[in-house]
Symmetry: C2
Subunit: 234 residues, 2 copies
DNA sequence: TGTATTTTTTTTGTCGACAAGAAATTGCCC
DNA sequence: GGGCAATTTCTTGTCGACAAAAAAAATACA
């Protein structure tokens, strides 16, 4: 029923089947092309991508492992819901992981990491300049993910990526369009954080990350408050 | 080649195939019945469990998602290695997550959580009394996992479980037998932590968790130092 | 008309088979 | 005897088909 994005390429290589389906579905879920609750039909996906159900199934198992889809035994599977009732757990995790990963990045980053981080920051700034909300959200997540990678702690990288994924969905839900000047402020704050990381100033990086994270939390809460005033349906 | 534990039950229900294989393999990996590097053969597992390769495959995909096995494209898959060169990342994550989850448990636990925690603590004490190292390791992980659950933050629960899984493997590697008096000390420390959680004293819980975690880290480092003296092969 | 029961439909879980990729083996040439 | 190419073997990735479970629809009965 829901029209997926990409067209199925003419010829697929062996082993690429599950991977491509996984990545496309994942992006559609995170960008809310497939909003929470959307039914996921194996046969439909199979004929859409012109492959058998087996690789589709593998992609779904992976997505279920990441908590992006829910599978009822023997029955339907659908895009997982966002738990708005417990947003504070999301905020707690977001702030702490922003701080920890940024601090570790300041301590343990290597030259190549900085190049990656700066490339991501450039993408973010470009998205802001283009007023492309969707690209901005994705680029922001990618930037902070690259900072986490620079900390070289696989445990923190894994959680943080999961948190950022949920953040992408939540932000996408409320960022229809934005005329605010906040994005530019975020660009500036990112620059400060990157400078602290590059200078290996762990304490400063921690402090800046905390401020940045709390500002994001505050911003999301504001968006929610505004939204709540408009629709009472939830 | 490697002899798995459980015998394949006579009749399996629909939908239980992948789940049982997943759980059995998982336990064998965490208890080092299947040590790092062990080859995982799909057909062999299939005939051992008397089912087709499909459910086996699903179990393997899940395990790969958790990082417990590595899959070479088009080629063999094997139990993932433990990264001894970067143990400090493990220690960093362990200490922080011990602290955070225990603190949150003190703040947000509900009555049912405490019952669960105490049941786990009892299991741990029993394993210590029985001098059953393997059971002790598993019970210790289960106890701290239940404390994390009491914090009701799914992000932290997920990472922490992953950390505890790796911890099970690492500890199993060095705990052939232990005559030390440490286990009893751990029992006592657990009691203190649980009391702090029950009293909703977040700061005390944090402090106790930190001490406990750092002691565990120290203990592991000692084991490693001793081990290193004996075998030079690594 | 409302409810319980049977039947049909829909979707998943499992199976056996086949083909592609990569390693191991063999054969060939020097 | 050693190095290189062709071949075989071995494992995985993919396919189409079938059967079990659960929901939906249809039927029977009060």
């Amino acid at each position: 029923m829901a029209a997926q994005t990409q067209s199925p390429s003419a010829e697929r290589k062996r082993g690429s089947g599950a991977k491509t389906v996984y990545e496309l579905l994942r992006n559609d879920i995170l960008d809310l092309v497939l909003p929470p609750g959307s039914p996921i039909d194996e046969v439909q996906l199979a004929e859409h991508f012109k492959m058998s159900r087996t690789p589709i199934r593998e992609a779904l198992v992976r997505l279920a492992g990441e908590g992006l889809i829910d599978t009822l035994p023997n029955r339907s599977t659908m895009v997982s819901n966002i738990d708005f009732l417990n947003l504070h757990t999301f905020f707690d995790a977001l702030v702490l992981m922003y701080r920890v990963t940024t601090k570790l990045a300041a301590q343990y980053h290597r030259p190549a990491d900085l190049l990656e981080i700066k490339a991501r920051q450039l993408e973010f700034a470009t998205a802001v300049a283009n007023q492309d909300a969707l690209a901005m959200i994705a680029a922001n997540a990618a930037l902070h993910s690259s900072i986490a990678e620079a900390g070289h702690n696989p445990y923190f990288v894994a959680v943080f990526n999961r948190i950022l994924d949920d953040g992408r969905r939540i932000l996408r839900l409320y960022y229809q369009s934005y005329g605010d000047r906040l994005p530019q402020q975020f660009v500036d704050e990112h620059e400060e954080i990157i400078a602290a990381v590059a200078a290996r100033d762990a304490d400063l990086a921690d402090r800046l990350a905390r401020i940045h994270a709390e500002q994001i939390v505050e911003q999301i809460q504001k968006l929610f408050a505004r939204k709540d005033r408009f629709d009472i349906s939830l």
